[in-house]
């Protein structure tokens, strides 16, 4: 019916067909036995091989765009670093890259660092406390963030898709709220009216 498929590299009849689907985009690669053996097709996972082919071989042979020529989704306004180059080199180009690629970082930081949040010598997370720049809290030198601050941090973490941090923060909030209901008679150091009313009664039940 149709013509036999040709090898993408040398044009000989193709006997090996690789299909890669990324974000709904289907990419097919056809190879003859010789070219497949030459590039160790059998030993490589399909995605890695397809990626390697598209980036290195096909890019050169049939004019597909190589990694550096692909259209980047994100470009850092500070230094011109692209998401493609960042993925390839695992290096950032300037301080602003950390904002530009915050989504990518949220994905890799838990893997390479086991955390996504800086802790200073006192072991405090500075994010929210400093954003609000409340002199009061600095004066009190409280090493703990308030529930309110934690909630802000939680929202911030969710916004940055840092789900690990979000989960940790959520757990801390929960445990704090539990504690608060236990120490009902002791006036809570930091409590906001909208927090203490509804959660207080609900948590009390769960506590027992």
């Amino acid at each position: 019916m149709s013509e036999p498929l040709k090898c993408d590299i040398c044009g000989a009849p193709a006997t090996i067909h690789l299909t890669q689907i990324i974000n709904g985009n289907v990419r097919k690669i056809h190879l003859c036995e010789k070219c497949a053996a030459k590039h160790d097709a059998a030993d490589l996972p399909i995605i890695k091989f397809a990626e390697m082919l598209t980036k290195k071989i096909l890019g050169e042979k049939i004019g597909l765009k190589s990694a550096s020529q692909q259209t980047p989704e994100k470009i850092c306004p500070g230094c011109g670093m692209t998401n493609i180059l960042f993925e390839k080199t695992q290096r950032l180009g300037c301080p602003q890259c950390y904002e530009t690629f915050s989504r990518e970082l949220a994905e890799i930081l838990p893997k390479i660092q086991g955390s996504s949040q800086y802790l200073d010598s006192a072991g405090t997370q500075k994010t929210v406390a400093n954003k609000r720049s409340t002199k009061k809290t600095a004066k009190e030198k409280s090493p703990e963030l308030s529930v309110e601050q934690l909630k802000e941090l939680l929202a911030d973490a969710v916004a940055h898709e840092d789900y690990e941090l979000a989960a940790k923060t959520r757990d801390i909030i929960r445990s704090r709220e539990k504690k608060k209901t236990r120490r009902k008679t002791v006036p809570a150091k930091i409590s906001s009216p909208e927090l203490s009313k509804p959660t207080g009664t609900r948590k009390k039940k769960g506590d027992k």
Partner: protein, 346 residues
């Protein structure tokens, strides 16, 4: 060569901070010309700094390849810095503090000492870091901490490491297990020249894996705690080796001594392996204590760039004076003055 004190098992400790200037792109994202101008700016500012008053500055382009290699072998610069255009290093007179400029980050502040008190070394590194912080505004984010070119250094920018001599664990075949256990505790084990290097002479570099989400003191404490455990494991391995039979071990030591004292050609790796055995024997009282500190120097001096540098300073290398021959001569000269192994102590 500066005389350094020497201790069993732990050869040296190192504390390193990575820092970047807030207003500049990281060195990797700068052109060689831009890197050159950032370097000039940094060096100009450092000249006025009281902290760096007596330090020596080496700009990479002014150094011959052999001189650069010498600094690499002394762990004062990295192999990466050697390759960089627009890079420099600032070294303190005692050679314990060095600041690499325009490596992967604008600053790599490093303190190396034979002392194994990491907390004390950390406090000195903090002083050097503070001296730079008083001049330059570092790239810092409240969310991520100190920003670095590679996210593996992000946060504290702190890498704490110890160079440890573990021949017992290597001979006992336990090293793989130790590496696995340390990896699970957040520590990395590498060869003596860091990533991708071999562990010649049974010398390993153990350092923290993570730099983010842990306060600096905790990073140093964790390594310090585990070092104690590693030292114990190494001592146990050495005990086990001796229990299995003293003769094979003593034979190895004697052969190492014989080779170092009489050989005419020695490669860098072979020399390091022999020195490693003699160092271990020093810890066991088979050689006098003073030999160990000289062995530590010989580990450095017998590396290829040091041999070439030493020779070329006096007179140029003669034909047939290969590095292996010169290395063997260096060892022969020293070991002819050292008494043979005394096994009566064991």
């Amino acid at each position: 060569m500066l005389q350094r004190r020497s201790y069993p098992i732990i050869l040296s400790s190192r504390v390193r901070f990575a820092r970047n200037i807030a207003t500049e792109n990281f060195p990797g994202a700068l052109s060689p010309q831009q890197r050159e101008s950032v370097k000039k700016k940094i060096l100009g500012a450092l000249e006025k700094s009281e902290y760096f008053r007596n330090a020596t500055v080496f700009e990479m382009q002014d150094l011959a390849k052999a001189e650069q290699a010498l600094l690499v072998e002394r762990h004062l610069i990295s192999r990466e810095l050697q390759e960089r255009e627009g890079a420099a290093v600032v070294i303190s007179p005692d050679q314990k503090t060095s600041v690499m400029i325009n490596e992967e980050d604008h600053f790599r502040i490093q303190i190396v000492d034979a002392n194994s008190d990491l907390v004390e070394i950390l406090s000195r590194a903090k002083l050097a870091e503070a001296a730079l912080a008083s001049i330059f505004k570092f790239a810092f984010s409240e969310r991520y901490g100190f920003l670095t070119a590679c996210p593996t250094n992000l946060g504290t920018g702190l890498r704490v490491s110890a160079m440890v001599h573990l021949p017992g664990l290597v001979m006992d075949g336990q090293m793989e297990k130790v590496v696995r256990a340390l990896n699970m505790c957040g520590l990395t084990v590498r060869g003596s020249f860091g990533e991708g290097s071999d562990a010649t002479g049974s010398i390993f570099q153990i350092s923290n894996q993570h730099t983010l989400g842990i306060p600096v003191e905790k990073i140093a404490d964790t390594l310090q705690e585990w070092l104690g455990g590693i030292v114990e494991q190494e001592k146990n391995a050495r005990r086990r080796i001796l229990q299995r039979g003293k003769a094979p071990f003593f034979d190895q030591i004697s052969r190492a001594y014989g080779e170092l004292r009489y050989a005419f050609l020695l490669s860098e790796n072979e020399g390091a392996d022999m020195l490693s055995l003699i160092r271990m024997a020093c810890d066991l009282g088979i050689f006098p204590e003073y030999v160990r500190s000289r062995i530590d120097e010989l580990f450095v001096e017998s590396q290829t760039a040091h041999i070439i540098f030493r020779q070329s300073r006096g007179n140029a290398l003669k034909d047939g004076d290969g590095v292996d021959k010169l290395r063997a001569t260096l060892f022969r000269e020293y070991f002819s003055m050292i008494p043979p192994p005394d096994f009566s102590a064991e």
